[in-house]
């Protein structure tokens, strides 16, 4: 995936100020690569704050250090919501402050880091084992202009996560495949006194995801890709997606007060409602089983959790089986000692490490050999749907960058609150460039 970034125009007036700052950026090119055999210390930043996730990284680092006695890796766990801001500041400060290995979210953020010379190009450092185990498609999301700047570690496509028990109670024999079926099932679920669908509107992005999913069905793959270049919602499919969402919202599928519900915090959040059988399903990325599991009364995975892909919308230009998702990756900073850093990234996707990764995070590992050990039925259903999909689109907010994603968040919330319009979404995206 190549993210076209607007050219950085250098205004003459800026030269003075830029000169001062360039001195900081210049550090980026200075060589800090330590000698291959000397002792090497690296820092690793991850957002794995939960018990098993933290343990996974501790164990992985320990076994890597054992195999590479001259390497020491210091792990720092950063709260997910704080990570991006801290990382940006640390990378800006450059050598000495920037972490050597860190969680990479990809998309526009990764492209901006590449442009600022903050990431190491690992295209030529991928081991043969890595190339054999990780499909080129999985790398696509970690690439900028055809070069690889991050190692993907998992596959996080999205879809519906639902409670099989509640579906059974409501008399739903099999998960819906079309929008009409979904709406009919919602009515049945309301009949047994649960909210059909939970959505974390307070955090905005879960609501915006609904719009993305309708856009995935309404817009062709070509339109989605072309929009990544133009960042304009000119195609009529964007309006159709908005109309779909508006019509769907009119059937009151979401829990009451969904705009004041957060996505992941506590039993009252959308994931918490599913975890406690207060809502029957949630449209979310593949990190959801882990989140739902942490919010059940006994903090164990939800036993009756199931998965089905986004329903089909009649008349759309998009492939009815297309899927949307993302993946977590890890990058080396431009100042990280090589080859130690890329060695570690290669190590992260080796089969035994990937099997541990799957166990720790309850997600589909990126390594194809490690995928064989995945046994949860919902993850198997997810892998089946992903393999059937003719194409997997990156989350639109990642694909179109922070600025457009933020505008979409705001305008979709406005729409769902009854204060905006479909045209408001289109305008917000088209106007977002004015602010940045």
């Amino acid at each position: 995936m190549s993210v076209n970034h607007r050219n950085v125009r250098r205004a003459a007036v800026a030269a003075l100020g830029a000169g001062v700052l360039l001195s900081t950026a210049a550090c980026g090119s200075s060589s800090s690569n330590s000698s291959a055999n000397g002792p090497v210390t690296m820092t690793l930043w991850t957002n794995a704050t939960t018990g098993p996730g933290t343990t996974f990284f501790k164990d992985t680092i320990q076994s890597f250090e054992k195999a590479n006695p001259n390497v020491t890796i210091k792990m720092q766990v950063v709260q997910n919501e704080d990570l991006d801001g801290k990382l940006q500041t640390a990378l800006q400060a450059g050598q000495g402050t920037a972490p050597d290995i860190f969680l990479q979210r990809g998309g526009g953020k990764e492209a901006a880091m590449v442009q600022a010379g903050q990431l190491a190009d690992i295209s030529d450092s991928l081991s043969a084992e890595t190339k054999a185990n990780v499909s080129p498609g999985s790398f696509a999301q970690a690439q900028v202009d055809g070069k690889t700047y991050a190692m993907p570690v998992d596959l996080l496509p999205g879809g519906f996560w639902y409670s099989k028990d509640l579906f059974k109670q409501a008399g739903i024999a099999k998960p819906p495949t079309t929008l009409a079926e979904l709406e009919a099932d919602n009515t049945k679920l309301k009949g047994i006194g649960v909210s059909p669908i939970a959505v974390g509107g307070k955090d905005a992005w879960p609501a915006a995801h609904w719009y993305y999913w309708f856009a995935l069905r309404e817009c062709s793959q070509q339109t989605l890709d072309a929009t990544a270049q133009s960042l304009k919602f000119d195609d009529p499919c964007w309006t159709k997606a908005g109309n779909d969402l508006l019509a769907f919202e009119k059937t009151s599928p979401f829990q009451p007060g969904f705009l004041n519900t957060s996505a992941q915090q506590g039993a009252g959040s959308s994931a918490g409602l599913v975890a406690n059988h207060k809502a029957a399903m949630e449209l979310m990325g593949a990190w959801d089983p882990g989140v739902i599991g942490s919010l059940t009364p006994n903090k164990k995975p939800l036993p009756d959790l199931g998965f089905f892909p986004m329903v089909q919308v009649p008349g759309g230009q998009g492939d009815p089986q297309a899927i949307m998702g993302g993946s977590d990756g890890y990058s080396c900073s431009a100042w990280a000692p090589q080859p130690a850093c890329s060695d570690f990234l290669n190590y992260l996707v080796t089969t035994p490490v990937q099997e541990n990764y799957y166990k720790a995070f309850d997600v589909v590992p990126v390594n194809k050999a490690a995928q064989a050990v995945v046994k949860e039925p919902y993850l198997r259903d997810l892998m089946k749907a992903t393999n059937k999909a003719p194409y997997v689109s990156t989350w639109l907010d990642t694909l179109y960058g922070l600025n457009v994603g933020n505008a979409l968040n705001t305008s979709v919330v406005n729409l769902l609150a009854g204060k905006g319009s479909v045209q408001g979404i289109i305008d917000a995206v088209n106007n977002a460039s004015a602010k940045g």
Partner: protein
Amino acid sequence: MSESQVSTTAESLDRVSDAGDGRATSPSPARRRPRRRKASWRERVEISLLSGPAIIIFLTFVILPVGMAAYYGFFDWHGYGPATDFVGLRNYKVILSDPEFRAAVRHNAEIVVLSLLIQGPIAVLLALLLNRKMRGRSLIRVLVFAPWVVSEVIAGTGWSLMLPVQGAVNALLTKMQIFGEVKIDWLGNPDLALWTLMGILTWKYIGFAVILLMAGLQNIPEELSEAAGVDGASYWQIQRHITLPLLGPTIRIWAFLSIIGALQLFDLVYIIWGQYVAGVAGTSTMATYMVLNGRNAGNYGYGNAVAVVIFLISLIVALGYQRFVLRRDMVGALTEGA
């Protein structure tokens, strides 16, 4: 004291910096300057040792960031690499023409006015009440002050858990069995959300107002009310004609702090509504707008420009208030330093 009449803030700041230079301070530097004696070497060392750290911290963490925000505000900058895309005043034009920002300013203005109108009278009455000797006074004091001591994040999280449609507040109202099943959308209904916010703000900050006013009441000589009582004034007449006027300086200082606090309101809204929903609920503030369109959108240049606009609005309001309202109270307090 006639020279003290010229007490604009700029001049009082001049005097402060005079003091910082280690020269003798006086209400009228122009007249006194020729007679100023030179501070001894020892005095200079002492003053720079005492004031140095504070000045360095102030310059580094207040003045420098303001300057940098002003600088970045002229760029289209996303926070990666150096800022190079100079856009002149474009950010400011977009800010001032953005209906969302105007709405945020309007919400801030509403919060400023409503805070004064709601909290002021309640605080005065509570302070008068708590100033009297009576049973349960300590308990009421604790109840009034406790919310103010609790951190904004904790208070905000608590309210955000209690106020949703399916939250504890509605459940409590339902259990009271007076209103039937209560399903009030305290947070999401735009007609209600601002009042919910005002309720929370009043609950949270009334304790601070009461503390200030009670301190002010301590300074009012009891002889005055005793004398008025002897002359036959009723309790309310005494409060109206003696206590309130003498409490004036305290009330004006509290109003100043309340206005500044309302202009910069961020944490409670950010936590209870989240910056996306605050806009539709009608509780967004200039500060939540800044975070939403600056940090969240990755438009750091634009966000810095918003920060500058907030700074200027707050500065103008603060200076105007000092000039027109606080001046009479400031006379003698700030100007007679020596």
